[in-house]
Symmetry: C2
Subunit: 204 residues, 2 copies
Amino acid sequence: MTTSLSAELWPDVQPETARRLMLAGVESFAKRGYHATTTRDIAGAAGMSPAALYVHFPSKAALLFEISRSGHEQTLALVENALEKAEDPVERIRLVVEDFVAWHARRHTVARVVQYELNALPEKEFEVVTELRRRIERIVRDVIAAGAESGAFSVTDSHTAARAVLSLGVDVARWYSERTRQTPAELGKDYSELVLRMLGTRAA
Amino acid sequence: MTTSLSAELWPDVQPETARRLMLAGVESFAKRGYHATTTRDIAGAAGMSPAALYVHFPSKAALLFEISRSGHEQTLALVENALEKAEDPVERIRLVVEDFVAWHARRHTVARVVQYELNALPEKEFEVVTELRRRIERIVRDVIAAGAESGAFSVTDSHTAARAVLSLGVDVARWYSERTRQTPAELGKDYSELVLRMLGTRAA
């Protein structure tokens, strides 16, 4: 089960041992925080020796960076994907919110590490991830601004609106659990309706 | 400066030494997480000996509980206060969002500990805090349901709507910083407009 989950989370990471360590890292960081977790804890949780961990990751920070970068690349990809699938700003925002919210619900443990352990990244790695975050924000802001321009949205401050839209999605990782009555996809749909109204669209 | 900040944060806590330890706890937990922080770290940050800490708090968990309980009581009080100040559901939600968002912006470091270290609380203390959270959610949900009933809001699922409203406020603690261009009060006003639209009110 652990193997298939890690393959689902990080299809591009090879070999499977590296993915297994990333999954153990996610679980340990989510439970006790990055700073309270040692490489020994992570290796142990993955059923390996600390030496085996260093074969794949030079440090605990490198492991966190891989988790963080991959999570940000995945969310950037789904935001970019929404641009491909639709031209209309209303449809674009609907798709962005559906997918972004569903990702943070389905991947809530990974997402907590991705969103809440940013400050534990070393400076250079932090910059890489910050640039991915800027790209996500810029796309959402530009779509909202385009919709405001065309009259589809009624928004005066696309910066604040974009922040609120993404914030709603990110916070899902904090509170979502397996006991939540909505599935990730259902929550994505409910939230996209709320967001479209928030942006003052008539279509909502 | 530290002294006056701690008195502002916890006016009801006495003596000042206890408040100083709570502030040192907030700063240490926010920086490295609860589990990576020792009572020695906290005492040291407050310029005291570990023994001096135990005079005021029997354990690190007791210190976290005091920070968490107090933060939840403060946010519950401002939500209850909004009910006192207005009768109309639209005005009530406007006040709740303004004050809840401004609190999470102004107190963003305290709020991060309050919102993200819940799972570190021992079981009994967790239950106390969870009950405070339930009361906050219930009030917001009831106001939204009352507004939906009267036709002031157009909401089909007051549970999801209340969750989204509070979620927007809580997440402010994650991203707000001293460099944010809006003051806490300005952000509260901007967000209350967004929320009123999200709830489908005509007044927005």
